[in-house]
């Protein structure tokens, strides 16, 4: 196979896998749905179940998973650090604090804008902290991110404690991450934003490659790194804010999928980004399908599942010495 062929082949295979996972998510679940009902004109329980619950849920899982993997890949390469991930940098915690506050005080519709604004404020603060004496320090950024994560998680804990006890259980489940409470409008918004961000990032994959060489090398090749990195941060905040407001904390997708994808296709963004988008979506769809069926009618929070599967795999890779 030629050089481009291998990457294209991987994307095709992953695309097929994604479609299968999506179909599986639509077909499997409690309650029998006949296919005639779904596209029929008469209103029925099966039809409503499909279009109001199962379909939006599959779309949300795909969008959230794809979005988190995409953001993880971009953060890792633009910061040139294998640990960069929305969760480690505190962006998810900021979004979670915003969303939890909105939910706890009964303004659940405000959780999307509030989560995005909190994520953005957090990244802007980290960006300012990372510039020391004129140079961008990734170490500073990551250390500040870890500190911010602790601070904001504590803040979220305080909000949960202060909240109306009747809401607490729902908040906790939501914090662990899951797709059990969704509305079609926000799902559509999330899918749209992830799709558009994905398309934009793929279109600048050449620039992302240059940025991944380091600031000085990027400058030499005619790219001004600070401006591009700010744009990437804004994109990351919007995507993370939306995904967290939609599904809470789905851990490890943002770090696991990009590293897995790099093992197969290398670091070049032209194939990496589509693979992350598809891979993140597939993984999260499968995890969610599993989470809602295996002990049905009860559900496992998807965030727990991705962490339970992701962390051991990740440790295994580390011990095998697979590099960044």
């Amino acid at each position: 196979m030629g050089r481009g062929g291998l990457g294209q082949g991987l994307i095709l295979i992953n695309g097929a896998g994604f479609l299968l996972a999506f179909l599986l998510a639509l077909v499997v679940g409690s309650g029998e749905i006949a296919w005639v009902e779904i596209f029929g004109s008469e209103p029925s329980l099966g039809k409503s179940l499909f279009w109001n619950l199962r379909f939006p849920r599959a779309v949300a899982a795909a969008a959230v998973g794809g979005g988190l993997a995409l953001v993880g890949a971009v953060l890792q390469s633009s910061l040139r650090n294998p640990l960069a991930d929305p969760f480690l940098l505190g962006i998810s915690s900021a979004a979670a604090l915003g969303a939890v506050s909105s939910l706890a005080f009964g303004h659940s519709n405000l959780r999307f804008p509030v989560a995005i604004v909190c994520a953005l404020l957090c990244l802007l603060f980290l960006d300012r902290t990372a510039y020391r004496k004129g140079a961008f320090s990734t170490h500073n950024l990551l250390l500040a991110g870890v500190a911010v994560t602790y601070l904001l998680s504590a803040g979220t804990g305080v909000v949960v404690l202060l909240a109306d006890p009747t809401r607490t259980r729902g908040l906790m489940f939501w914090l662990m991450g899951g797709f059990s409470t969704l509305d079609p409008a926000s799902t559509l918004l999330c899918a749209l934003v992830v799709g558009m961000s994905g398309a934009w990032l793929c279109s600048i994959s050449g620039k992302l490659d240059v940025l991944a060489l380091g600031d000085e090398s990027a400058h030499i090749l005619g790219l001004r790194p600070h401006g591009l990195r700010r744009l990437l941060f804004v994109t990351a905040s919007v995507v993370v804010g939306l995904t967290v407001a939609t599904a809470g904390g789905i851990g490890f997708v943002g770090i696991l999928v990009p590293h897995l994808a790099r093992l197969f296709c290398g670091v070049s963004h032209r194939t990496l980004l589509p693979l992350c988008l598809l891979g993140g979506a597939t993984l999260t769809l499968l995890a969610d399908t599993f989470a809602r069926t295996v002990i049905s009618p009860r559900e496992i929070p998807v965030g727990l599942l991705t962490a339970l599967l992701g962390a051991p795999f990740f440790l295994h890779q580390l011990r095998r010495g697979q590099g960044f």
Binding site: R80, D209, L213, D215, S217, I220, G222
Partner: protein, 247 residues
């Protein structure tokens, strides 16, 4: 075609690393910036490719201030090999080499052909993380040279290279070109043999400039480099003879 430094002062944090330097890099010449560690060579070179902003003064390339150049067209006029290699993602060598050409592998393979002495094709399929120091330096040089930019700025280009590769590189740099070549060097013998002009820095100030034969006097070697030494110009290939260190 000129490269002009006009009364430039450079600061890193609050410390002045270069003070009020004026210099005219001439077209068609290989100019070496020499001086001991910490004399401001790398800072000057970084300012020349616009990475380190000037605290005062101006740098003009082809009659236009560096800051006013469109970054992409500037990158097309300046091929640069920096001294410090930043940690980067683990690209395959061929991918890294193609980045200055917008990722086009075929164009890259064509441009690498005249750079035979760097023996790059043998490295194409390896990853950057697997390379030795010298191999990595060859890739960095390749990225600078295959742009075919008229001006080259190379910070200690022979670092880590074996002698044969180093000499082939210096040979290559002496070929006539539209612009000029600016290098930072430590080896004074190399500077004397290969360079048309020398710019000598000490503690951020210019202390001498001109042709090697005019510049490299015993007094200067003692004053700037702390060497009890003299340049032997009697043979075709001048040689530095060091007889002691002055402390």
């Amino acid at each position: 075609m000129t490269f002009l430094v006009r009364e430039v002062t450079l600061k890193r944090q609050a410390r002045e690393v270069l003070q009020n330097l004026s210099y005219h890099f001439e077209q068609g010449l290989l100019t070496a910036v020499i001086g001991p560690n910490g004399s401001g060579k790398s800072s000057l070179l970084r300012a020349l490719y616009g990475y380190l902003p000037t605290a005062s003064g101006a740098i003009l390339m082809e009659e236009k201030e560096l800051a006013n150049w469109d970054p992409r067209s500037l990158a097309g006029r300046l091929g640069v090999c920096p001294q410090e290699v930043e940690p980067s993602l683990d690209f395959r060598v061929e991918q890294a080499l193609a980045l200055p050409l917008g990722g086009q592998l075929q164009a890259m393979e064509e441009r690498v052909k005249p750079l035979e002495f760097l023996s790059l094709p043998g490295l194409f399929q390896r990853n950057l993380s697997e390379l030795s120091g010298g191999e990595r330096q060859r890739v960095r040089l390749g990225m600078a040279l295959l742009t075919e930019a008229p001006w080259l700025i190379l910070d200690e280009p022979v670092n880590h290279l074996d002698l044969a590769t180093a000499w082939s590189l210096l040979d290559f740099l002496q070929k006539p070109r539209d612009g000029g070549v600016i290098v930072a060097l430590h080896d004074l013998t190399t500077a004397a043999r290969c360079c048309g002009r020398l710019l000598v820095l000490k503690e951020g100030r210019k202390v001498a400039e001109g042709a090697p034969r005019e510049v490299l006097s015993s007094d200067l070697l003692a004053d700037v480099f702390g060497l009890q030494a003299e340049m032997d110009w009697s043979t075709e290939a001048p040689t530095l003879r060091i007889s002691g260190i002055i402390r």
